[in-house]
């Protein structure tokens, strides 16, 4: 599978590449390595250009995009209803950008479109890294959503970062090493991470659907 990854930092990118490999269970070829966006909302802003570029200028089969949710509305099963779109949900927004951009492009390089895999880490990718650590059993997407609805968040993004990196100012090298150390837990089996983080499960579902045709809305038919 030939794919490109668009994420917010080189540390995220290194971890996401391995997670994608763990889901797909087949050899990956990175196309257009070192794509990067400057965090939200820059990801959504540059995404049409990135999709267009990959479509016409490369032989990429698909594009993996992973962003943090920060304090935005978290994507839920409700948002998956046909023709539904939540303007404050980053998953909905990124999927919409994919849909609108790919719809306009004629087939190129022997394929109809660049396939989509979108993941949203709630509230930040560090929460994924903590999944399955006994001392961090309180960290999950559900815990965050419950906290949002109660008006009392269970932890802050800064706290999650501190738990992963042991400091609030990690160097890029340290950040990358910690990310790779933590995701090593999921490489044999990603089910726990998918269970705790539907924002990762969506990414995994998109990836597993890459062998199958997509409908107009980017869903697996």
């Amino acid at each position: 599978m030939k794919l490109a990854i668009l994420s917010e930092s080189p540390a995220d990118e290194a971890a996401i590449e391995r997670l994608v490999g763990a889901v797909l269970r087949e050899p990956l070829v990175r196309v257009q390595s070192a794509l990067r966006a400057r965090g939200w909302p820059s990801v959504a802003q540059v995404l049409p250009a990135v999709i267009r570029h990959l479509h016409f200028e490369t032989n990429a089969d698909g594009l993996v995009v992973v962003v943090d949710s920060d304090d935005s509305v978290v994507h839920t099963a409700e948002h998956d209803r046909p023709n539904y779109f939540h303007p404050l949900c980053r998953m909905c927004r990124l999927r919409a950008v994919f849909r609108q951009t790919t719809k306009k492009l004629p087939p190129a390089r022997g394929r109809a479109r660049v396939l989509r895999a979108v993941g949203v880490a709630v509230p930040a990718v560090e929460a994924w890294y903590l999944s399955g650590r006994p001392a961090d059993a309180d960290v999950s997407e559900k815990a965050w959503i419950d906290g949002q609805s109660r008006g009392h968040l269970p932890y802050t993004r800064a706290q999650l970062k501190f738990r992963v990196y042991g400091t609030d100012r990690p160097s890029l090298v340290h950040e990358t090493n910690c990310a790779l150390r933590e995701i090593a837990r999921f490489l044999p089996d990603t089910r726990r991470l998918e269970n705790d983080f539907p924002g990762f499960a969506s990414l995994a579902t998109d990836l597993r659907g890459w062998g199958q045709p997509y409908d107009e809305d980017g869903r697996v038919e």
């Binding site: 400057r38 909302p41 404050l88 800064a158 970062k161 400091t167 609030d168 100012r169 090298v173």
Partner: protein, 346 residues
């Protein structure tokens, strides 16, 4: 080390004060007080060399004479240093007052020793690239001009320090895989980088400005005996935006050494920048951003922490883009006359 600084009639800083963090990123238009802030630090160091007021003949100053007061972080929070000036260009008296609310045990003499180690860097790529006298190998010069001599001393006497510096430099610039320091004439040394996978060496004078600046910034961070305060202007100069994170890391290794696994004393950093990309990197530490702004002829400071709606604003744009729009202030304004009718103009 310096907790806050307050200005009165010092250049454009008529009545301005700001609280400082271990790391501070100062952004704002030219002439808005960024350099004056750094200049005040440097003058404090100069005056700390001399005897205090009251120990000699103290000049009599008018009530409106320029004055800059400094307060300090623990253990020096017992002291306030007030620098008074005859004019913007002549600050010649330093008074030190004990504060009743300070609890730290640090003595004035110990604090004075720290103040003497304040350093300002104005890097000059041509100076960095020129051969350096091998004798000038103790402390990095303000223009970075003795980098080769410093590296030679580290390589020969502090191999661990040299190796840490070289590892970082070659990781950030993977197009090179080795550094060589070599003799030029009898007394001078220069350096070159080897192109990865080739035998070609690129002499310092053929390296890009940004590469030379980054090599000095990494040397500052690797220095086992760093200054107490590092003031550095236009930290992002010549650098590719993607390398800025490494520069931020290098600065944080000075200001927050324990975060980087280092056991040395923290170095306070005051850096200026004009780069929205660099600003983006401080999203998790907005308390470290100081905006300088000029309204009319008076400049003042603002902290981004004052913006309570920042979370909502960041949903729609990055920190750097928000700054660029001007909604935080701290951007140049030019009078195009568009909003002022002729009758109102003087």
């Amino acid at each position: 080390m310096i907790a806050s600084i307050a200005f009165r009639n010092f250049k454009a800083l008529r009545q301005a004060s700001v609280e400082l963090c271990p790391f501070n990123l100062v952004v704002g238009p030219n002439g808005s007080g960024k350099s004056s802030l750094i200049e005040a630090f440097v003058r404090l160091r100069t005056l700390a060399r001399m005897s205090l007021a009251g120990e000699g003949n103290e000049p009599i100053r008018s009530a409106n004479a320029p004055e800059v007061s400094f307060r300090f972080m623990p253990p020096y929070d017992r002291w306030e240093a007030v620098m008074s000036c005859a004019s913007d260009d002549k600050c010649d008296v330093l008074n030190v007052f004990p504060l009743s609310n300070g609890e730290g045990e640090g003595t004035w003499e110990a604090l004075r020793g720290k103040l003497l180690r304040i350093r300002r860097f104005e890097l000059d790529h041509a100076a960095i690239a020129r051969p350096a006298s091998r004798k000038e190998n103790q402390e990095l010069k303000p223009d970075g001009g003795n980098l080769a001599a410093l590296l030679l001393r580290w390589r020969d006497q502090l191999p661990d320090v040299f190796s840490a510096w070289a590892t970082q430099a070659l990781r950030v610039f993977p197009e090179y895989d080795d550094i060589q320091i070599y003799d030029v004439a009898e007394s001078d040394v220069a350096f070159s980088l080897r192109i990865t996978g080739e035998r070609t060496r690129v002499p310092a004078h053929d390296l890009s400005q940004g590469t030379l600046y980054a090599l000095v910034v990494f040397a500052l961070a690797a220095d086992p005996e760093p200054p107490s305060v590092v003031c550095i202007e236009e930290l992002e100069r010549g650098l590719h935006p993607r390398i800025l994170r490494e520069v931020q890391d290098a600065m944080y290794s000075l200001s927050h050494p324990s975060s980087h696994g280092l056991s040395r004393e923290p170095v306070q950093v005051l850096a200026t920048s004009h780069s929205p990309y660099f600003l983006d990197l401080f999203r998790d530490h907005i308390e470290e951003i100081i905006l300088t702004e000029k309204l009319g002829s008076a400049a003042h400071f603002k902290k981004l922490t004052e913006r309570k709606d920042l979370g909502e604003l960041l949903e729609g744009a990055s920190l750097g883009d928000l700054w660029y729009t001007g909604i935080f202030g701290g951007v140049p304004t030019c009078d195009l006359g568009g909003t002022v009718s002729f009758g109102e103009r003087s």
